[in-house]
Symmetry: C2
Subunit: 324 residues, 2 copies
């Protein structure tokens, strides 16, 4: 089997590549070769049992997509996107990369003609407030950002290309990934991870919203699990409705902090500094906070059921088991 990861240099893409390198197979079939494509050159995972090609380029340049699917990969993960904030600031760039880029890719796959499994990462940003208590699988997509609009359009295209038999797509709407490794970033959602990761590493973290804020989380390990399951699930089990809200865990910021206290103690929790930021408070108010992801769960997608578990995964996978 030949695997292509588009967006292979991003956090989730790298973790996926590492997992595939370690497993050496996908759904029981040995991996013969893997390509990691991104706008910047990524890094091959250590100790892969198969050749890994690193490629870089701009998917939104006509002709580029045809090149990267020329060797007709069997499974394509499409994780690449301009993120929410940038797509909102630069309208044209967001549509060029997130809409045109995705469309070029689907069209290149159609022309290649080998009907691969295409796993597309969508987002809960396809939903826009006001919301029901828990957003069900049949709730409509009325995004309140250009990013969410572009993801919702990608979902529609993926389903139509699948229905026409041009490819075999599964779209997965990821929860907010928590705990995100790496440095604190300026994404409005960054604090959900910062308030766990930084105190665990001995650093102070800023909490800009109230502890009552409810949000929808899954670990990076779960995200990789969703991708692997989406890559191998029988299309006939999914049917024509190809886009799925992934399971996750709805917890308040207060519950996140309580979990941190249980796992790491009061000394670590004391490193969280409350500093309300009205701009972030306002952005977060428009975000979906809770889902009933029955369909994905019944199809075998799994996420964490406690926030302690999410913290422990971070400590295992990123900190080698140690807390500062």
């Amino acid at each position: 089997m030949n695997v292509l990861i588009i967006g292979g240099a991003g956090m989730v893409g790298r973790k996926l590549a590492e997992r595939l390198a370690k497993d050496g197979a996908l759904g029981g079939t040995p991996i013969r070769a893997m390509t990691l494509f991104d706008v910047v050159a990524g890094e091959a995972p250590a100790a892969a049992k198969f050749p890994v090609k690193i490629a870089s380029g701009d998917l939104s340049v006509p002709g580029e997509a045809a090149k990267i699917v020329a060797d007709r990969p069997n499974v394509i993960f499409h994780l690449a996107a301009i993120v929410s904030g940038e797509a909102e600031q630069d309208f044209d760039k967001g549509y060029r990369i997130n809409l045109d880029g995705t469309r070029y890719l689907l069209e290149a796959i159609r022309q290649a003609g080998n009907r691969p499994r295409v796993v597309f990462t969508s987002s809960i940003a396809v939903f826009g407030a006001p919301f029901p208590e828990a957003i069900g699988d049949e709730f409509f997509t009325t995004p309140l950002t250009s990013y969410g609009t572009q993801k919702a359009i990608g979902e529609l295209l993926l389903a139509d290309y699948t229905r026409k038999g041009f490819l075999d797509g599964i779209g997965i709407r990821l929860p907010t990934i928590c705990v995100r490794p790496g440095k604190p970033n300026k994404a409005a959602s960054g604090f959900f991870s910062n308030i766990i990761r930084e105190p665990l590493a001995g650093h102070e973290a800023v909490l800009p919203v109230a502890e009552t804020v409810l949000h929808w989380h899954a670990s990076p390990r779960s995200a990789v699990g969703f991708l692997l399951h989406a890559a191998t699930i029988e299309g006939s089990r999914v049917g024509p409705r190809r886009n799925l809200t992934m399971p996750g865990l709805a917890v308040t910021v207060g519950q996140q902090i309580e979990a941190l206290r249980k796992v790491a103690g009061e000394k670590v929790v004391a490193r969280i500094r409350r500093e309300p930021d009205p701009a972030i408070v306002k952005i977060v108010e428009g975000w979906p906070r809770n889902f009933d992801a029955s369909r994905a769960r019944s199809l075998g997608f799994k996420a964490e059921s406690t926030f302690e578990e999410i913290i422990r995964i971070h400590i295992e996978d990123e900190l080698g088991g140690a807390i500062s």
Copy 2:
């Protein structure tokens, strides 16, 4: 006020143009000029009190959209589309006209910079089976045709361009328009109109499905009413969810026939010949049949409440009040 109708040569476009010509105004503001644009040259309505320009061209050719909005119309009706059957047969043409054409138009309007009201006709084809008993305003869009996919994408783009302040859009999902005037056509939905129009004109009509088939109807007069109301409604009343399922009437084919009997008598009804067509039966099974269009009704959109009324409108508007 300057009005542009894109798709001005089609059935609904012509009726809309006639109504505007007769009224001489839209929402109380006198119309100064009107342009009817279509892929073929249309006909100016008789006796307009303002100049009517007839233009033709292909909206999906880059640069064309900029030309047709160069005089910065205040209200733009975008009714043009490749219909369902053709968009399904010719995948590339459907996407070129229905998606690229719409996107070029929205982008040209953004560049023109005058933020007009844009009324976009979407379709109940944005929904795909299985359905609840009545499809509510928050039901998700999982189209089962490329046409429905293209309309759902148009809705998303319209909402995002509106949210960004580039234009002021309202999308309306039309019911099946019944009774469609003119010759019987080969559209799979044609029989809903044929079984009323043809018998009233003294001709035989073929009914290819069972009388139990339930469907969602509104008259051509209501369609024009929806467009006029969408052109003048306050955007703030609608909010960010810019796409609305229009009200309609859910009736079975049997109820259509009963209404025809009441309005025109047994002699007319006897001109309906039952000739089941398995291909049409199958297509119709996938169509939405009943809606709860509460939101549009609460915003003042109105449709017929009995099928007799729909038949009487046809007799008044198309037959000069006379039945053969």
